[in-house]
Point group: none
Chain length 212, copies 2
DNA sequence: AAGAAAATTTTCCAATAGGAAAATTACTTG
DNA sequence: CAAGTAATTTTCCTATTGGAAAATTTTCTT
């Protein structure tokens, strides 16, 4: 009985890491139906640079990574949050800016509070989690910023990527980095009522006010 | 009344981002009592490269970032998670009802949630407003940031500087700029229970501008 | 406080990233 | 299917990174 051992040099390791990262970049762009030209405009990078980065031909510098993250409507954390965990093509769920504004799925009904207010640094939402016997597993939700949840009524199970599910009773709360994949479900046979507050880094004026 | 607006060019933004990132690198290294030489050996990078990176003189490429993360016993995600927060991907904090830190004044009893977490971009607090016949008027409270309040139980009157008092029933909420003088009081003959979330702009490193 | 040792920064140069535009490939549409 | 257009990749060149070693600063030690 033999086992195959593949030995990689240090540079081969970083090479393959970079190539995989490039794939994620491309996926992220394709998911939003953006062309290289579009992302180039949004991020301020050259088309060729993005093309090379996506194919792992070059290793972007920190500065360009930051710019690119901005252009793709994420932040550095979201870029790397899923890294290391097994990469299933298509399993990438980065919520686009404002996507969670009116989220109504089989499991959720969200009501954004104060939608008319601009430049909020927090986005409070009231939500109802429908009771289900079987939790239909949607994809994990990921987005930039941080998140705070309190259970107002009922019992809620919070699924956090790479960890055991956490059960929260009425009055319990949880605080986490939204870049981590997360998902809520009602635990009891009644609907649960939750309050969620997200930070919305993109809408923060201090970051968006700049000139060319 | 004037407000100061600081306008940054795109390159100034990435510059300061890089500089702050460098500071975090150095902190991370110092925390473990490692010398540049030690990290150089662990990561395979040159001493000079790490030195320059820590001072924001150069923007590391993806490859070197990956290597450095390895040498510092973290991963890329932890580097960037929540713009300098100490959250590692997969980590989160749960606060159980009633196991909060208490802070008590004549009118308020506040319980800060997650006091042990640093670099939160929000500060959630549970509070009890004692019932009073006469509201003893403290000075208005003012601080930077924004504020969000939900009434969990009872009836609350919110006094906002330069406006009529607002009465909130259970489930009602209010969102405002914390710079405006504000004050809460229980309206009924029972104590009221509120949840307050404040943004703490100063504690977010990535949005604080400074120079060497 | 002086000299030695350790740690960090600077210098200089080879290796690599990043941008503009040309070349190629993929996608429409008549 | 050909011509035209859009999207991507290549090419070529300049700007910047990253490493080795020298120079400097900081930290011990006696």
């Amino acid at each position: 009985m033999f086992s195959t051992v593949i030995v990689m040099t240090k540079s081969e390791i970083t090479d393959s890491q970079r190539i995989m990262f490039g794939h994620r970049l491309r996926q992220l762009r394709r998911k939003n139906n953006w062309t290289l030209a579009e992302v180039a405009k949004r991020s301020g990078l050259a088309i060729s640079t993005i093309s090379k980065a996506e194919r792992g031909i070059i290793a972007l510098t920190y500065d360009r990574l930051a710019q690119l993250a901005d252009g793709l409507d994420t932040d550095m954390a979201a870029f790397f949050a899923a890294e290391g965990s097994t990469f299933k093509p298509g399993s990438f769920a980065v919520a686009r800016k404002g996507e969670f504004r009116r989220q109504e799925t089989t499991n959720y009904v969200y009501e954004m509070l104060f939608p008319e207010l601009w430049y909020k640094s927090m986005s409070p939402m009231m939500g109802t989690l429908k009771a289900h016997e079987l939790v239909e597993f949607d994809e994990f939700v990921r987005h930039p910023g941080q998140e705070f949840l309190v259970v107002m009524e009922g019992i809620v199970t919070v699924h956090v990527e790479g960890g055991e599910p956490v059960t929260l009773q009425q009055g319990d709360s949880i605080y986490f980095d939204s870049a981590i994949g997360h998902l809520y479900a009602s635990d009891g046979d009644k609907d649960a009522r939750i309050l969620v507050v997200c930070t919305a880094p993109g809408s923060n004026p201090s970051k968006t006010s700049y000139k060319e």
